[in-house]
């Protein structure tokens, strides 16, 4: 193990290490801690210039209540859910199939198609912006959650295919060969042999895509406007315009907007990290 395990070092260093950990963590999260403190303060503190002193009263509950009752925040959060969940399902479903096709079969152009997905996953959004906006307008899907979901599914299919194909490649091939010998159809091989083995990949990918899509801002402002369809990343800027210079509310709103993927991460940590690092360690 590297670096040297702490248990094997001098007692002095062991103690300083234990002391250093929380200090380093506080420094690392300082900007976020600042916002969290803001969100607990009453408006009066800001008017009096008491930015970093002790809150004159604890107003956390009022502030967060107002975020949920005095604005469209609940609608934005709901929109985010209604955009993120279908996207995750759609992209994972499509890429299970493409990953299976590219991972199991040998045919001409296999690598070419695979590379097309990989390359597409890395292109700058800007090269897609104007045409995708036009397409969405032309289909009458501008400013709808559906329009955003369809695009997200398509774009994420690139990354998901890369992920799934590599995962399927690593599965034991004899399994498929044996099934074929017994006359199992290709579709059944996919549905009853491969798919169950892909569960960990599906879990990892779902958590990852959930975070990506939840945090998307660019496409939200290009393809939607207003509380009927905008997700919370875009909604937070409207929220801030409504409460301009009300820092306690803007802070509370920002934390609320940031929370769902954080919860998701802590709940599904193992899958999340497995997803991120697949390919990083071979």
């Amino acid at each position: 193990m590297y670096p040297t395990p702490i248990a094997k070092t001098s007692p002095a260093w062991q103690i300083s290490y234990q002391a250093l950990l929380p200090v380093a963590l506080v420094l690392w999260l300082l900007p976020l801690i600042g916002v969290a403190i803001f969100s607990l303060k009453p408006a009066a503190d800001f008017a009096q210039g008491n930015y970093w002193g002790w809150p004159s009263t604890f107003s956390g509950i009022q502030n967060y209540t107002l975020v949920f009752t005095g604005s469209d925040m609940p609608r934005y959060l709901m929109n985010s859910v209604l955009i993120t969940v279908p996207t995750v399902i759609g992209a994972v479903a499509l890429s299970c199939m493409t990953g299976f096709a590219l991972g199991v079969y040998h045919f001409r152009g296999n690598l070419l198609i695979f590379f097309m997905f990989v390359a597409g996953n890395f292109v700058p959004f800007q090269i897609l912006m104007v045409p995708v906006r036009d397409l969405t307008l032309a289909m009458g899907l501008y400013d709808t959650k559906t329009g955003l979901v369809l695009f997200h599914i398509a774009f994420q299919t690139g990354f998901c295919t890369l992920f799934m194909r590599n995962f399927i490649r690593a599965l034991p091939r004899p399994l498929i060969e044996a099934a074929r010998v017994e006359g199992v159809s290709e579709i059944r091989i996919f549905a009853f042999i491969i798919l169950p083995l892909m569960k960990p990949a599906i879990a990892a990918l779902s958590v990852l895509i959930f975070t990506f899509i939840w945090n998307d801002y660019f496409w939200a402002i290009v393809l939607t406007q207003g509380a009927d369809s905008q997700p919370v990343t875009a909604g937070i800027t409207s929220f801030n315009a409504q409460y301009r210079a009300a820092y306690h509310l803007m802070s509370a709103g920002s934390l609320v907007a940031a929370l769902p993927p954080v919860v998701m991460f802590f709940a599904m940590q193992r899958h999340f990290i497995a997803g991120l690092t697949l390919g990083a360690v071979k």
Binding site: S71, D72, L137, Y142, D143, Q225, A227, D228, R244, A245
Partner: protein, 418 residues
């Protein structure tokens, strides 16, 4: 911030009482979809009130109001005009209508301007006209000028300046006392354009402003340089607050409210938040931007906000009726009152509210602006030029020595854009 309000509930109750006679012959029906950018608290209440009253007047009509954050609206209008057009939409007068007029997205409403209404709104007809036709109606306008801390001026024995020299002398006295002369937040650029407009109109006059924004004058012209030279003097004095690039106009308000800065060149909409911040009329006052070049007549900025009918609107009949309702003398008086918008009515038959700032502003625009009344830099100039120039203004305020580079860039832009 966007929220959709459906109003038929209230309407149903009110209708019977209010509009017995009108309803008999009323032919408006269906839905009237309104998109509005009146998202600040006071304007929001006004817009909601108008929608409610109009709804009550027309029992068979369902008014559906959507209020969108004012900043976000500026980028969203192009989308909804093409994709899902309402029946009525807010916008601004002058050249800012041009992209939508040219693209055929605004309805020609010249018919509304024929006859009585046209006469009552005569003063704003020019600002609503492009290609010889009218493309909407105004609902409010407001003066710009210098809002200042009367109590600070009094404490230092200063009076409202009438010349540029007095303005600078006042400023020096304030600086000597440790107070900045002017607060400003240039993060969103247009506030700097307010300064440019006034310095330019005082240095070269209203006609020059119009020629410059119409692309007829070179940015490297000596007259433009003279405007910047005057601005340079103020910057060199340290007249403006530090770090203004980091603030929006709202974030610059506290400097004045807390007495760190003594004045704000701004539109009349700044009065409401300044009052909210605790400046009553004994502390807050207004003066017209003083003369610089005695040879030019005073011109003013008075931006006009408007209503339009998108070309793709579904219910144009109701939309036209709504526009007529908005500009009626009675409604104009009501919505521009001090306890409502706190701005000036566009209808000549309306009365101006008995508010210190509104009365003085009305007087300035009616009697003390012989040079002419402009919209505002970013409404008179085409969008692209406005953006380029306002960025230049901001750069100049931070790095005045870059002036030559800035002007060359603007001139290159002018040759390309017009």
């Amino acid at each position: 911030m966007l929220s959709t309000t459906r109003l038929p509930l209230v309407a149903a109750v009110l209708t019977t009482a209010l509009t017995g006679a009108a309803s008999a012959q009323d032919s408006l029906s269906g839905t009237l979809k309104i998109f509005s950018d009146m998202s600040n608290p006071a304007p929001r209440a006004v817009m909601e009130g108008m929608a409610e009253r109009f709804d009550a007047m027309h029992p068979d009509l369902d008014v559906e109001l959507t209020i969108i954050d004012r900043e976000a609206y500026k980028t969203q209008i192009r989308n909804f005009l093409t994709a899902n057009a309402p029946d009525v939409a807010n916008w601004y007068a002058g050249n800012r209508m041009a992209p939508y007029v040219n693209a055929g997205l605004f309805e020609d409403v010249s018919d509304l301007w024929d006859g009585q209404i046209g006469e009552e709104l005569a003063s704003t007809q020019g600002a609503m006209t492009l290609d010889g036709k009218q493309w909407g109606v105004p609902y409010t306008y407001y003066q710009w000028g210098v809002y200042y801390r009367k109590d600070i001026y009094d404490r230092l024995g200063l009076s409202e300046p009438e010349t540029f020299d007095q303005m600078k002398a006042n400023c020096q006295a304030l600086l000597d006392d440790g107070v900045k002369c002017y607060t400003i937040g240039t993060k969103f650029l247009w506030t700097a354009a307010g300064w440019f407009d006034y310095l330019n109109m005082r240095t070269n006059g209203y006609d020059f402003h119009m020629a410059l924004t119409a692309g007829e004058v070179e940015w490297t012209d000596d007259r433009v340089r003279q405007t910047f030279a005057n601005w340079h003097e103020l910057i060199d004095m340290g007249a403006f607050i530090d770090n203004h690039t980091a603030y929006s106009w709202q974030e610059a308000l506290p400097f004045m409210a807390q007495g760190d800065a003594a004045a704000y060149l701004m539109g009349n909409f700044a009065v409401a938040p300044l009052r909210d911040a605790g400046l009553d009329d004994s502390k807050l006052d207004y003066y017209q931007f003083p003369a610089i070049n005695a040879d030019v007549e005073l011109g003013e900025d008075a931006p006009t906000d408007t209503f339009h009918i998108p070309a793709q609107a579904q219910n144009k009949e109701a939309a036209r009726a709504f526009l007529r309702f908005v500009v009626s003398a009675e409604n104009q008086t009501q919505i521009n009152a001090g306890d409502a918008l706190g701005q000036l009515p566009v209808n000549a038959l309306s009365s101006v509210d008995d508010d210190k700032f509104l009365k003085e502003g009305f007087d300035v625009l009616s009697n003390r602006a012989p040079g002419g009344i402009a919209q505002f830099f970013d409404r008179d100039a085409p969008a692209e030029m406005a953006k380029l120039a306002m960025e230049g203004f901001q750069e100049f305020m931070v790095l005045p020595d870059n002036l030559d580079r800035v002007l060359d860039r603007l001139e290159a832009g002018r040759q390309r854009i017009y």
